[in-house]
Amino acid sequence: MNSLTLYVMTASALFGIGVYGLIIAGHLLRKLLALNLMGNAVFILMVTVAGPFEHGPDPVPQALVLTGIVIAVSATALALALMVRLYRETGRATLGDNDGDEEVDDG
C-alpha cells in the first residue's frame, strides 16, 4: 500500500464517519462538525486522486480546494448564525421532533 492509497482510504473513512455523525447527532452544532468532516474528506480525495505531479499535486484541484475551504467556512458561519437564531426563538438547537422518522413511529 502506498501513501496515495492510504489517503484515499482515510478520506473514505472520514466521509463515512461524517455521514454517521450527521445522522445520529442530535445537536445542530455537532451535525455541522460532521458536515465539515465530510467536506474535509472530499478535499483530501480531490487532491489525492490528482496524483503526484512535478512539484506536488496538480495545481488545479489544489486551487479548487483552497476556494472550497473558504466557501466551507462561510457556509459554516451562516449555519451557526441560523442555529443561534433558532435557539433564541425556540429554546432548542435540534431539528424538530415531527420529522420523517417520528411520523412513521406514530402511524
Binding site: N2, S3, Y7, V8, M9, S12, L14, F15, G16, I17, G18, V19, Y20, I23, I24, A25, G26, H27, L29, R30, L32, L33, A34, N36, L37, N40, A41, I44, L45, V47, T48, V49, G51, F53, H55, G56, D58, P59, V60, Q62, A63, L64, L66, T67, I69, V70, A72, V73, S74, A75, T76, A77, L78, L80, A81, M83, V84, Y87, R88, D101
Partner: protein, 310 residues
Amino acid sequence: MSLAVDLLIAAALIGLAVQVVVGGVLFRAIVLFIVFGLTMALAWARLAAPDLAMAEAAIGAGLTGALMLVAYRRLIEINPDKPARTERRRSVLALPVAILASALVAMIGLAAIGLEPAPGFAGRAVMDELDQTGLGNPITGVLLVFRNLDTLLEIAVLLAAFAAARAVTVPGASPLPLSNRSQSPLVGALLAIIVPMTVLVAAHLLRAGGHAPGGAFQAGAVLAASGVLLALTGKLVPSAETGLLLRLGLLAGLVGFSLVGLIVTGFGLPLLAMPGIWAIYAIETAMMLSIAVALLLLFTGSAGLRRGAD
C-alpha cells in the same frame, strides 16, 4: 519510513473524527475538531500541498474553530441553565448508510488514482502557460489567472454569507463573551507584540503568494485571526453600525476584481483577463482585506466594530 508517518496521520485523523462525532460532551467535540483541522494541515504538508496546509491551519482549524466556540458560548448565554449535552438520535440505518457512503468514496478514489492523466489535462496546461503570467506559484496562477471567475464568485459567496448571517442575527444581542476580561497588563503587552507580527506575516504571505506558497486566502485568514484576538481582548467591540472603512474593506475584493476584469475589455482583452502582475497583486490585496473583514465580522456576529474603551 514516510509511510509510517502517513499511517500515524491517517490514524490520528480517523480517531479524532470518531471522537468529534460520538464523544459525549459538545465542547470537547469542538476542541477535538480544531485538533482535527491541525492534523489535516499535516496531511496537506505530507501530500506536498503547502498552500492548503497553511489555509487549513488558519481557516479550517483556526477560524472555523473560533466560530464554533463563539456560537457555543452564545447558546450558553441565551440559556445558562440548560446542559449542553443532547441526546443522540436512534437510527438503525445510520451505520449501514455510513458504510455504504464510505465504500462509495473508496471505490471512486481507488478507481481514480489508477487512471493515467489525459494528455492535455488542465494541470499540465497550467504548468506550460505559467511562465507567461509572470507568477511562480501555479496555484496563485490558477486562482487569479486561469480560473479567476471561481475566485471572483468565491468573494461574492463570502459577502453573501456575511449579509445572510447579518439578516438572521438579532441586532445588539451578541456581545463578545470575553470583552471585559482584559484587565491584566500582560494582555496589552502581548497584543503589542502579536498584532504587528501578524500584520507582517499577512503582508509576507500576500507578497510570497506570487512565487511561493501563500496568497490572499492565507493572508486574509491571518489578518482576521489578529482581529479575532483584538475582539476577544476587548480592544475592538461590536457595534450596530458598519463604519465606512469596514464597508470599503468588505467590498474591496469584489468591486476591485470586477472593475479590473471589466476595464480590460475596453483595451481589447477578454473579460477578467489580467493586464499584468501589478493587477494580480492589487486584486490579491483587495481580496485579502475583504476576506479578513468578512471573516472577522462573521466571528463577532455584529454589523460593525469600534475601538474598545481602553
